[in-house]
Symmetry: C2
Subunit: 346 residues, 2 copies
């Protein structure tokens, strides 16, 4: 089979690999039909994170079940499924409490399981990990493309909103206009936020933020942006979604939150200095987040997607086939695409 | 009048100062009968925080109202009162929401208002700031000594427990065996925690932690202490009270919290590196805290103190008079006392 492989910074190649096989009775083999390239893939692509030469890549698979192990009950061959970026068993303490990203039996797609940017993928813990698309929508291409972001960014934006305690009637600030930030806007809107201030640096993305429900946008930088957001919210927002992870974004979030408010954060924090912690402290702001338990949110978000009240698919501003994956990485690296969909097959 | 004054690192002197007078119609003049020396006073005492030569010190006053301004309705001359470490108006947005330490009209005792380690103090915003002790207990020395910690450390330990989401039946870990940590144990116990693991480095203080309700204590240091606490809690506690503010304590808290759990923190974070933030992130742990809104908690804690179900007074292991304040600082600096009470007059 063909699969995308990491060959060094800026170098993704499509290579022939062995097709995965059932290894454990809880495994399923999925023929990948759709997958995506993630902003977090850019960390290793840019050489800012270690990744072994020859390592498989990708962690957002959707496809059709080909084969299942003896203990798989939740799906059967022929089912259309998708899977969150984190593999989870569904039955340990942490899965039971909805924190699938802390699963006691958890694993990743790319580093542990052959990657999801390829023709086939082996899913361990298929009962807990795979989400089945209802038959009626199993071959509905529009529905599938709207569901694909539930593998990662839509669930992650939702986690930011949940961690920021967004509820109906609230005013929320979303820091970051990448795919996760845009999904954060959708999530805040979906949870009933009345005002949503989107902060970012790209006019086209902020325009999409408006389409997704942002009532105001802030495109300034640094202290000017912070001042603007604080003015718009009469002194800071009670609910701030930090959707980047970079130090400047964390500082912005910590300065834009209202005393006693809530910051939800979902990007791996890449910070040197802990100065923003002091900002949070003197505001008595809560700071909550982590790797989003996307599996926990999959069913509730799928209901909305399938009933037509939630559609994150406009974040895919470019589509490639499997051979086009290297181009897809480049487009995301150059910010020519917000997020790239990989259409592997039917 | 006599008052304690900062004269440089390690140098507190008792000097003659003008007695404060009513300046605004919302002021009250309080004759101080009891006050205390705080662990946070050691920052400037040790030269680790700037303080002007000649600055007044102290922020935990209890006393008898001498005189009130025209707009003061809440107290009258002769009332026994105490006051939280932060002055608050009681009527702004943040006081209304119980976050008196973010009061829009807030001020401090020592830097803004003549200090509380002296014979008299002027209380601005007396309606919002002063807490009246019921007449029945106004001259009950035992009650007064048990109430004195409500000016700061008892409310602060309670805030840590509230921020750590401690509820009945929970298992909590308290990091730090200073006065705030010990009050954190009392607070967790009061909120119904079933198991309380106290972590610290002083056998005598950990013994007091046991008397206050700790079911287990951990006196090891560094990674060994973390391992021990994690073992005692079968993999980490859902509720961690970080009662120090130093980097090592924050790291300990971040490594001892269970995935999906809650860290409450109440010491000003003195950190260089943000490594503990990554620990929190990968556990999806909430991190909440700040300067404790002690005024918000004063009445509910006072009820328990006066009915005899809460008594933080054993944290006072040394008592001095006003002339003994310099000795009191030295005893706390040398860790010869957990906390020093200053008995100024009857």
């Amino acid at each position: 089979m063909k699969a995308a492989v990491y060959r060094g910074p800026g170098d993704i190649s499509i290579e022939e690999r062995d097709r995965p096989e059932i290894e454990d009775p809880t495994d399923a083999i999925v023929r990948v039909t759709h997958t995506a390239i993630c902003g977090s893939d850019l960390w290793f692509y840019r050489g800012e994170e270690d990744r072994a030469d020859g390592a498989p890549v990708g962690h957002e698979p959707m496809g059709v079940v080909e084969e299942v192990g003896d203990e798989v009950r939740h799906v059967e061959p022929g089912d259309r499924v998708f899977a969150p970026f984190a593999i989870s068993c569904g039955e340990c303490e942490f899965c039971r409490k909805g924190l699938h990203t802390s699963c006691a039996n958890g694993a990743s797609w790319d580093e542990d399981n052959g990657g999801a940017q390829g023709e086939y993928v082996r899913s361990p813990h298929a009962n807990g990990t795979l989400v089945r698309v209802p038959d009626r929508y199993a071959d509905d291409e529009d529905a599938l493309e709207s569901l694909l972001p539930l593998t990662d960014v839509m669930g992650t934006g939702h986690h930011a909103a949940v961690c920021a305690n967004v509820e109906a009637g609230d005013t929320a600030v979303v820091v970051g206009d990448g795919a996760v930030g845009l999904c954060g806007v959708l999530a805040a809107k979906r949870l009933g936020a009345e005002r949503i201030v989107a902060m970012g640096h790209h006019e086209d993305r902020l325009e999409l933020a408006r389409e997704f429900g942002a009532t105001e946008v802030v495109s300034a930088r640094g202290e000017e942006a912070i001042e603007e957001a604080r003015e718009l919210t009469y002194g800071g927002a009670n609910h701030v979604l930090e959707c980047v992870g970079a130090e400047a974004a964390l500082e912005t979030a910590a300065k834009v939150v209202r005393p006693g408010g809530h910051v939800g954060y979902v990007g791996v924090p890449h910070v040197e200095s802990a100065e923003f912690v002091e900002q949070l402290f003197f505001r008595n702001a809560s700071f909550t987040g982590g790797p989003a338990p996307v599996r926990q949110y999959a069913e509730e978000l799928m209901v909305d997607v399938l009933q037509g009240t939630l559609d994150p698919s406009p974040i895919f501003t470019k589509t490639v086939d499997l051979d086009g994956v290297p181009d897809g990485y480049e487009a995301m690296d150059q910010r020519e695409a917000i997020k790239v969909m990989v259409h592997v097959g039917a």
